[in-house]
């Protein structure tokens, strides 16, 4: 089963490198990894997707916690959450195929962000599964170039992943 983990990291030199090198060294299989800024300056947030059948999720969490600059790791898989991936894809699109492609894009709520005589660039954000389905559908048209950001996740409701940590220790500091 796939697990989605969210980790908060202090922006210190090498913290991303340490995390990634840890995954390599311990043989953890990471399917997707994204890092970005958060609501707090100096704190980054990493979202990881791991295959729980081949990699021990408990070990990933515990080993990440051993890194001095990792503040919090949370497995949000079982929590109600929103996961999002962003796709940019350049499809072969001669004039005869354009409208068909545009229809598909429309159904998925994707945006056409660039059109040239032979090709079209489409942008779509959604759950990773939604993106998979869309990509499958447009594949027959001929994909020339494609990139996905990897998965971001946030739990639903008012509570936050940094909740207890931020109210107690961090604010005091």
């Amino acid at each position: 089963m796939k697990h989605t983990l969210v980790a908060l990291l202090r922006d210190q030199p090498g913290v991303l490198n340490r995390s990634v090198s840890l995954f390599r060294r311990r043989g953890f299989n990471i399917e997707s990894l994204t890092v970005g800024h958060t609501e707090t300056a100096g704190i980054s947030r990493m979202t990881l997707v791991i295959d729980g059948d081949t990699t021990s999720v408990e070990q990933v969490i515990k080993q990440l916690y051993k890194l001095i600059d990792v503040l919090k790791v949370s497995d949000v898989t079982q929590d109600p959450n929103v996961t999002r991936d962003l796709l940019l894809v350049k499809v072969y699109a001669p004039p005869a195929k354009r409208s068909e492609l545009m229809q598909l894009a429309d159904i998925f709520g994707a945006k056409i962000v660039d059109v040239v005589p032979d090709a079209m660039m489409i942008e779509l954000s959604g759950s990773p599964e939604q993106l998979d389905r869309f990509v499958d559908l447009i594949r027959p048209f001929g994909i020339r170039e494609m990139v996905r950001t990897g998965c971001l996740a946030m739990t639903r409701g008012a509570s936050t992943i940094s909740g207890p940590y931020q109210t107690q220790e961090f604010r005091a500091a």
């Binding site: 340490r18 060294r25 001095i68 600059d69 919090k72 940590y165 220790e169």
Partner: protein, 570 residues
Amino acid sequence: MKTLTGAQMMCEALIAEGVDVMFGYPGGAIMPFYHALPEYPQLRHILVRHEQAAGHAAEGYARTSGKVGVCVATSGPGATNLVTAIADAMMDSVPIVAITGQVVTSLIGKDGFQETDVTGITQPITKHNYLVTDVRDLPRVFKEAFHIARTGRPGPVLIDIAKDTQNARGVFEYPETIDLPGYKPNYDGNRRQIKEAANLLNQAKKPLIMAGHGILLGHASTELREFAEKTGIPVITTLLGISCIPEDHPLSLGMPGMHGWVHVNRAIQECDVLFTIGARFDDRVTGKLDSFARNAKIIHVDIDPAEVGKNVVTAVPIVGDAKRVLEHLTEIANPNDHSEWVNHIREVQATRSKRQRDPESGMFTPHHVYAEFTRIMQGEFRVCTDVGQHQMWAAQLIEYMKPHTHITSGGLGTMGFALPAAMGVQVACPNEEVWAIAGDGGFQMNLQELATVVQESLPLKICIINNGYLGMVRQWQELFHERRYSATPMWSPDFIKLADAYGIPGVRVERAEDVAEAIHQARATNGPFLIEFVVEREVNVYPMVAPGASISDMFEDPSEVEIEDVVAVK
């Protein structure tokens, strides 16, 4: 306001951390630090002959004193020479701080002369590391580094400091507090879990304690003993746990694992509750995992949450400090007596382990050396062993009576460890008898340190167990590689003449009858002394569990391997 150079700050920080000695070797990128050092006479610096030795000496110092060991090297080759010792400290959870010089900031990343990315290289083998390029960061970084090295599960921390940063000036204010929101080791252990462990142990018919390095690192020997005595539970000690309980204690059974005793491995297989504390179920201890402790519920106490549940399924996990958990556990556990169970194990010991203490007559083997050593020394010694057969025999056969008297490279198994580590031990315990015991192979990996021993007037006693082979590898070749002795026969120089060249007296011993005399002579010598024991060349360490086999399948004789492959103990 008065300002200091970065180099002076480094010295001030070391003093603030209670450091009084360090082991090191200078070079270009660390010269500002060495320039400042003479201004601080309270900081003793021991010049080694190879940076690896500085690392092991810092380890030996830390492994005995419980204080953080410090080693210093220059950038590039100096730093890379430290790598083995840092990895060794990481595997055995030894608190050391390694300080390296780095090329000037403007050259970093440009392949400057003697630049290596030492923070990159040591990332997986340090608990944490730092590259400092701003002098204002120095006090905080030193404070954090020592804190991280000595707290929680101890380990090595490296601080790499650019040369211009050592020369830059700034105001020195050593921080009193530490702000590491992501680092909060848990010491106390969950009360409910400890209660559950007590219940399990109270009900157990055949409980067993497996004690590891964590007892020594956590200074919990007394607590361990009190717990064992109150509950009547026998104790086995892993290679790195050796000396955490006096070996003549009625509840002390000895070492488990690949070269552990038959009765100890049998006890693991028969026990119904295995209480493991400060040990991490290394494969050399467990053998084939799925047959390890197969009748037991396992309680695992460790300060490192990541060790709990890593290798074995745990019935009761407890994350906490050995001392605190044991104190609490002793308080709530029922007094008990398990003499029937202990006697049962002792019976196995009487029938299955005797031969090893009593080698065949006519041969001069390390057994004689270690038996005489134990008899003469009466527990008043500290021993550093190297890696190989002599190490396993020293673990099996010497009797250790006091904590931190057996120092060895366990997790990494680093040949060349004994001599430099013993230097560190001797510096930590200047008035005690410190013995370095190495094989003919391992001794030659760091023998250059004889010069350091002399220059620093360290009264080390050095034993070489010379079997003319890389003995442990030869043993595996004999048993598992058709006796193909590929690259294991080893020529050595005349060790006595060699010692003489360093001004160290020594004797060569070739007969069992002469062992005692040589040991007495070494002890009577005021200063370092070297004994070369020329022993039988092809003797094997038994009993043994073949790599990957179950610890139920120990053999005690090569013929047993050839005829039946392995003799099932149970």
